[in-house]
Amino acid sequence: MPLQVFFLRRLLLTIPLLIGITLVSFIIANAVPSDPVSANIPQNAFDNEEIIAAFRAKWGLDKPPHEQYLTYLGNLLRGDLGVSIKTSKPVLEDIRQFLPATIELASFGILIGMALGIGTGIIAAVWRNSLADYLTRSNVVIGVSFPIFVLALIGLNLLHVQWGIVAGPGRLDFIMRDPPNVTGLFMVDAALAGQWDKFSNAFSHLILPAFVLGSYVAGIIARITRSSMLEVLGMDYIRTARSHGLHERRVIIHHALSNAMIPIVTVIGLSTANLMTGAVLIESIFAWPGIGRDAFRAATSQDFPAIMGVSILIASIYVLVNFIVDILYYFLDPRIRVA
């Protein structure tokens, strides 16, 4: 199948998926047995019918649900996600404010997770049933089962408060001014502005939360890498490669790992989407102004436009990551190109 056809087919499939996601998000947001009025109007104004009526009219809550949904969908097609009830800013603007922080954190998290996970997974597979294998398997269990917020709090208290070897909460020291905003990614923006003190400060703030996030996904990646590598290492073509006298490193990296990559790419893709959207706890603990914290804020204040906006963003991230994974399959697995 030509790449263009494969690409187009995958792209078209995302359209009904995204529309379905808006509908499900809308139904769930409206199914909550509570009224956004009580979450967004102060107690003392709750008795003022004029204020409540004005609030309902302003946010379209006085219209029937199907009308609200169709209006929302129409606005969405024009790129308008509405205005957040809580911040009074366009939802898109809020997303623009919070998303870069999450992208920066999740990117480093997944890089650390990949480095740790693939590295230890290969070691465990190559030296199967060795001490290294047992250690890797134990770490996988610990990494996956240890509550991430406990790891974060221990890390914060030991590495930051007690030993002072990494920076604490926030994206920069609080008294530092942000670098000039170009991408919203502090390390990139600081580098572009030549502000190397801020670049290194941003890195020192990033390393701990990214490591905590990365250590969580590293366990899953390591497990998949190990089992996938074990399967490939038992194949005839690996024995053939070795019998040709190839260097062991070349056999493992070029022949074994490249053929074991499909399940690894799948789990990395899912982990990336998870980190981008599921870092609520880490963002809260590290006072990281990202999209996870905004999503939690939106949900607890029943800020429907923000809930919908964030839901669609999260769904889009999953769709995008799956789309990229599918494209990678195309290159990694010749059978897909032939099918």
């Binding site: 967004n40 204020i51 408060v161 604490g168 670049f199 400060n201 603990i285």
Partner: protein, 526 residues
């Protein structure tokens, strides 16, 4: 190989060089705080963080002392006079106040600010609903007219929602004080990112849910505040606030739990400020038999109050006090703990028997599953459950998601519950919310005037109009006695307000109206 090692080392040096060092000459105060705000626009915002920022960036006609709300002091108004019929208040303005762009404050600015607050239908607009008119007089004074006598009116004006804004600036940015302001005013966005006030600071920027930055007002005519810049950083996780305070990243942590405060007591770099709290924790009992069931009986109300182990709550939350009544205990005339009820299980059981429940009864306790400013309500609910079990009342805990529980409470559909209250007005009149006909008693707990005895309604009506301070205090005393004996609330805990500060921070004082005044805070010079 050697080159790559050197490269890695160079990168590591660059990356680690910035950690821990942010030396600068600027004096910056960093406050770690759980941001609770949706607007900094004085006419639209009505939350704790909003009050803190408004105190720093605006002034009101009258104000409270720095320490508490014990008296009313002049501010933009240098003096005021009340007409004989008690309906007209005329304020003379102090001409030394300047807005942050250098303009003087005029009577027109006052009229504009009050009318905009009233008509914009913002969250605090209800505060101005009881003002018939506000007029700028030819002599530069301002006259308010009220529909009925209200001795608390001047106290109400000390609320930071009545901040005086620069009318020209607000108008130039889309603001209006017209009666159609709810639909036509467009200044909120501007006033969320800028201030147009007379306070010692002005808003530099606000990134919602992230950080608010205040800088000095260049045209402030008074003594310049100590800090050049104030950063109010949103750190919703209390453990993170604690870590940031211990490492010196922040100077003040406002939201630590009592346990965390105890852990910090031995830290030589941290001081703990403790003072009276704002929140009264109490049980609610619905007066409608169809909703409250057994707890709609006034004898059960008293039985529940007498069954609570008040001492036990003080042990749970060190530094707390037992409320003498449901009136917040820092308000003038509020019963202190020396007039609080004590546990009397025998009398409690006798009252239950008298009400027809000699073997007690089963009931659900509804409350929000919430950490209320450092107090885990679940812990208190469990204690209530244990206390009432000793009187024979079998309580099933029914915690709910905050907004869902709040809605049920506000709509008056909660039978037996646990809630808390901080005063809207820093005047004893606030307690009338708990008296039949008041917001909490009637609208939320169905203790209607029809169900109430005449004596409390007479007391309520008399105190609303009483302006003589001695007579007023007597009436509030009688109201509190009545509430203790016959009210449908069981107040059991006033947790303290606790704030953790880095050593060297001076002048901090928690305030019931504006949380803290950053302009009076300073730091020891090194």
């Amino acid at each position: 190989m050697r080159k790559s090692v050197l490269f890695v080392l160079a990168v590591a040096v660059v990356l680690l060089a910035g950690f821990g060092a942010a030396a600068q000459d600027e004096k910056v105060l960093v406050i770690g705080h759980t941001e609770q705000t949706d607007f900094y626009d004085p006419a639209n915002g009505f939350t704790g963080t909003t009050s803190l920022v408004r105190r720093a960036t605006y002034d009101t006609l009258v104000t409270f002392p720095d320490e508490d709300a014990s008296e009313i002091l002049p501010s933009i108004a240098s003096s005021w006079a009340i007409s004989d019929d008690g309906l007209h208040y005329t304020f003379t303005l102090d001409d030394s106040f300047l807005f942050n762009n250098g303009d003087s404050v005029t009577a027109d600015d006052v009229v504009f600010s009050i009318q905009r607050l009233k008509y914009v239908n913002g969250n605090p607009s209800f505060l101005a609903a009881g003002i018939d008119s506000v007029v700028a007089n030819e002599d530069g004074t301002v006259t308010f007219t009220l529909p009925e006598v209200r001795p608390t009116f001047v106290t109400e004006l000390a609320n930071t929602a009545f901040s005086i804004t620069n009318a020209d600036v607000v108008r130039a940015n889309g603001g209006t004080d017209g009666m159609d302001a709810a639909e036509t005013d467009g200044a909120a966005d501007y006033l969320n990112q800028n201030s147009a006030g007379t306070g010692p600071y002005q808003i530099d920027s606000w990134a919602p849910q992230d950080e608010t930055v205040l800088v000095r007002n260049p045209n402030y005519p008074g003594e310049a505040p100590y800090f050049d810049r104030i950063l109010i950083v949103n750190i919703p996780e209390a453990a993170t606030q604690k870590a940031a305070l211990e490492s010196g990243q922040i100077d003040i942590a406002t939201d630590l739990s009592p346990d965390q405060m105890t852990e910090l007591e031995g830290n030589p770099d941290v001081n703990i400020w403790r003072g009276p709290g704002q929140w009264n924790h109490f049980l609610i009992m619905n007066a409608d038999p169809e909703i409250g069931g057994p707890v709609s009986d006034p004898r059960v109300w008293l039985a529940v109050r007498l069954a609570l182990d008040y001492e036990g709550y003080l042990q749970l939350w060190p530094g707390s006090v037992t409320p003498g009544s449901v009136m917040n205990y820092f308000l003038a005339g509020a019963f202190q703990d020396d007039r609080a009820l004590s546990r009397d299980l025998d009398r409690s059981k006798a009252l239950l028997a008298e009400a027809g429940y000699p073997d007690g009864f089963d009931i659900d306790l509804k409350y929000p599953d919430w950490n209320a400013f450092g107090i885990d309500m679940n812990i208190n609910a469990q204690k209530v459950q244990a206390d009432l079990a000793e009187a024979g009342i079998n309580v099933t805990l029914a915690p709910g998601e905050f907004s869902i529980a709040l809605e049920e409470y506000r709509l008056g559909n909660a039978g037996f519950g646990y809630w808390l209250w901080g005063p809207d007005i820093n005047d004893p009149v606030d307690v009338l919310a708990f008296v039949p006909g008041g917001k909490v008693a009637t609208e939320r707990l169905r203790f209607t005037e029809e169900r109430a005895p005449a004596e409390i309604l007479e007391l309520r009506d008399a105190v609303k109009k009483e302006s003589d301070p001695v007579r007023r205090a007597e009436l509030f005393d009688q109201i509190q006695v009545w509430l203790q004996e016959s009210g449908n609330f069981a107040p059991f805990l006033y947790p303290p307000t606790q704030t953790a500060l880095r050593v060297g921070i001076n002048g901090y004082n928690w305030h019931p109206q504006w949380v803290m005044d950053v302009a009076i805070i300073s730091r020891d010079e090194m």
